[in-house]
């Protein structure tokens, strides 16, 4: 099935990753809420998002962004591969927006307009640490106790 897909390949990950061992994709998450989408996008470096969206456009075909100047592999986190069908499923109005990010795959069902809006919003988003990024963690003993209680 031919589907026009817009691929924003940050830093040519496909080319690079061809040679490297892929991390196991253990997390597959199909979400629908806007909040979830926003939380995933908020983890991306907004500077990178901005630069890619500025240099490219959401149209048919692939879009390859150029590498940033400072690509110290240690300090730059791996970045997302964004893929949205340019012309979505006209019957239902929504189509999957797939975000590949560091070994995880997130799929959102959104309309094309929404997909564009999301990308624009992400670009404007101030890089604030979202609370969901840093969940409260419990002490080890307590965690273990609560785990054990479920088993009893």
């Amino acid at each position: 099935m031919s589907r026009s897909a817009v691929e924003l390949d940050f830093f040519r990950m496909e080319k690079e990753s061809a040679g490297k061992p892929q991390p196991p994709k253990k997390l597959f998450d199909r979400r629908r809420s806007f909040r979830d989408i926003q939380s995933v996008i908020s983890k991306m470096n907004p500077e990178i998002l901005k630069s890619v969206i500025a240099t490219g456009s959401v149209e048919n075909g692939n879009l390859l962004a150029s590498k940033p100047k400072n690509d110290d592999p240690f300090l730059s986190p791996a970045l997302p591969l964004l893929s949205a069908p340019a012309f979505g499923n006209r019957v239902s109005g929504t189509s999957p927006l797939t975000i590949f990010y560091e070994g995880t795959v997130s799929v959102f069902d959104v309309s094309r307009n929404k997909a564009e809006n999301i990308l624009k919003l992400a670009a404007e988003n101030v890089s604030k640490t979202v609370d969901s990024d840093l969940p409260l963690t419990r002490g080890k003993s307590l965690e273990r106790f609560l785990q054990k209680r479920k088993e009893r």
Partner: protein, 595 residues
């Protein structure tokens, strides 16, 4: 001024007098002040100082410690950042005791008490310690340590015949057998405190516990891992002067379980501190006969609901220390406020979030705090996880709890809307009122404390030495306002805030007493270069760059967990450490990478 002969009799008082007087000074800060007066007093302090606490082991070296305090009798060392207790720090981060143990074995002949907290200890270290100091060691505390096995404890059990305290609570111990306890039982008859609570050692034989009780007639405190309580009848019968017991396990073996059998348990007559793991409503009555004697109660690992808490607390009018989960609820706190007028320390941990797992009403809010503030006026320490909060409740605390030295509040995210935000005014009144406050933790959410609120924290926390701030402030301005105050702040930990590296660096430079900074969750720059603004001599800066770690989630499934970057910065006279793992990056290296 420094004339040797004249100093011997300044104002007619020989050195001996000063040496006797200085012996009455125990507070470390007083000793510190005395040692700065003149060289002579520095020397006297040097030869007479009995105890030293090194808050971070990398701030100095074992040799430096030896050069200054050769007659040291007691040493406490801390390693990993506090965040390690919440699984946020890589296991191999550092904090190795080996260099210290080697120096202790070589030089510190007077040392008889050792306390390692959040450090990495190996069996070899324990063997060396046992060989070199086994004859004199009285207190050994391996507190939340890791890296050793029961083989190491075997050496301790065999050689340390004068050991009065063996403390292993919450350490990660590789269990190879239970002989270590047997050796301890055979070789020791002066043990007063034995604690291997929350170590999950399973090969412990209750017969050895009985043997210890029989041989050690001064045994006062025993906290153990999960050992069926019914097997401890003999132990309780023999440990006649026991005052504190914690751990054990109730109902592990269903075939032996019947609540009646637990009712036949009789406890030592002086028991006043108790914590029974997995104690449920059916077993609670076994505590009733001596509940009025209880001064300390640990319900963290009990299976009690809110009603149970009310029933039990009602019977404990002499309670001074209570630890439990938030299932105690506001109603439980109200009962506490009514009945336990002597309460000094209260710790309320976060229980189960999942619906249906815990008592639905088991939540703590401003309602409980207000009751507590008015009822338990002796409170010195409060640590609490709340689901709802108001400014008024914080104001009540500031108004009534004048003895409060340590206040820690975490706002859970269970309730989406908190009506009375921001908490700026509440925290101001709290800090103004609780003038003895030395330790303060405030972990909130976005919008709960504005930049103005942070400025209040800076302005009014005059005595606070340690602070943990989570999700506070709106912008860098807030952090900068905070850092203009906090005159005594030595150790600052921050999590999930929105501050930039630049602001963090300026704050570190501005806070006059700051010697330790830990941050996770901040606006990172591409190259961490903004952080270099705080670079200065004797100030070590380390990064733990963002990691992805595979670990089991609540359901036991392996998931990938995001660990955002950490910054750790501290004063050190020892230079940059060299024993860091590949997950840790000293900032010098980063600077090099980018040139």
């Amino acid at each position: 001024m420094e004339d040797g002969k004249a100093n011997k009799t300044i104002g007619g008082m020989p050195d001996t007098v000063f040496e006797l007087v200085i012996d009455f000074l125990h507070d470390e800060r007083d000793r510190d002040a005395v040692s700065l007066v003149c060289r002579r007093w520095y020397e006297i302090d040097k030869t007479t100082r009995k105890h030293v606490t090194i808050a971070l082991c990398y701030t100095t070296t074992p040799q430096s410690l030896w050069r200054r305090f050769q007659h040291l009798e007691s040493l406490k060392l801390k390693g990993k950042p506090r965040a390690a207790m919440f699984n946020l720090i890589p296991e191999d981060w550092g904090g190795y005791v080996s260099p210290w143990v080697e120096e202790i074995a070589r030089s510190f002949s007077c040392l008889n008490a050792l306390h390692f907290r959040r450090m990495i200890v190996t069996d070899l270290d324990l063997e060396l310690l046992a060989q070199s100091r086994g004859q004199v060691l009285q207190i050994l505390k391996l507190d939340k340590c890791s890296g050793f096995s029961t083989d190491g404890l075997l050496h301790i059990g065999r050689s340390c015949k004068k050991l009065k305290t063996l403390f292993l609570e919450e350490s990660s111990i590789i269990e190879k057998g239970g002989e270590w306890l047997h050796e301890l039982a055979l070789n020791n008859n002066v043990l007063e405190t034995l604690n291997f609570y929350m170590t999950y050692l399973a090969k412990v034989r209750f017969q050895d516990l009985e043997l210890i009780a029989r041989n050690c007639r001064s045994l006062v405190s025993m906290k153990i891992s999960e050992c069926e309580l019914l097997d401890l009848v003999g132990f309780f019968g023999t440990a006649s002067v026991l005052e504190e017991f914690g751990g054990g396990s109730i109902g592990e073996q269903p075939e032996r379980y019947s609540s009646e059998s637990y009712c036949s348990l009789s406890f030592p007559p002086k028991l006043c501190s108790l914590g029974l793991t997995y104690m449920g409503r059916n077993e609670m009555p076994i505590v009733f006969p001596f509940a009025s004697l209880l001064r300390r109660l640990d319900l963290l690992y009990a299976f009690l609901d809110m009603e149970d808490h009310c029933l039990l607390i009602h019977r404990c009018p002499n309670l001074e220390v209570l630890e439990t989960r938030n299932v105690i609820g506001d109603r439980g706190l109200e009962v506490l406020a009514q009945c336990c007028k002597r309460l000094r320390r209260l710790r309320i941990e976060r229980g189960e979030d999942e619906e249906g797992m815990e008592d639905e009403e088991g939540l703590v809010s401003h309602r409980g705090l207000i009751a507590l503030a008015q009822g338990c006026l002796e409170l010195e320490y409060i640590a609490v996880y709340v689901t709802d909060i108001t400014n008024a409740s914080l104001q009540y605390i500031g108004t009534y709890l004048k003895n409060l030295c340590d206040f820690r509040l975490v706002l859970l995210d269970r309730q989406e809307t908190i009506a009375d935000l921001p908490l700026d005014n509440g925290v101001r009144v709290l800090l103004q009122g609780c003038y003895k406050l030395k330790r303060f933790a405030f972990y909130l959410r976005q919008g709960a404390l504005t930049d103005v609120g942070l400025s209040y924290v800076g302005q009014y926390s005059l005595n606070v030495r340690w602070m943990l701030l989570g999700s506070v402030g709106e912008s860098d301005a807030g952090l900068l306002a905070l850092s203009k105050g906090c005159p005594r702040l030595q150790k600052l930990e921050m999590r999930a805030c929105c501050f930039s590296e630049r602001a963090l660096a300026i704050a570190a430079l501005q806070l006059p007493s700051l010697r330790y900074l830990w941050v996770q969750g901040y606006r990172a720059s591409e190259t961490a270069s903004d952080l270099l603004a705080m670079a200065r001599p004797f100030w070590n800066i380390e990064l733990i760059p963002a990691r992805r770690v595979v670990s089991p989630n609540a359901n036991g499934q392996d998931v990938i967990v995001d660990h955002p970057a950490h910054i750790l910065a501290y004063y050190s006279l020892a230079g940059q450490r060299t024993d860091f793992p590949n997950t840790v990056l000293p900032l010098d290296a980063v600077a090099l990478l980018n040139t």
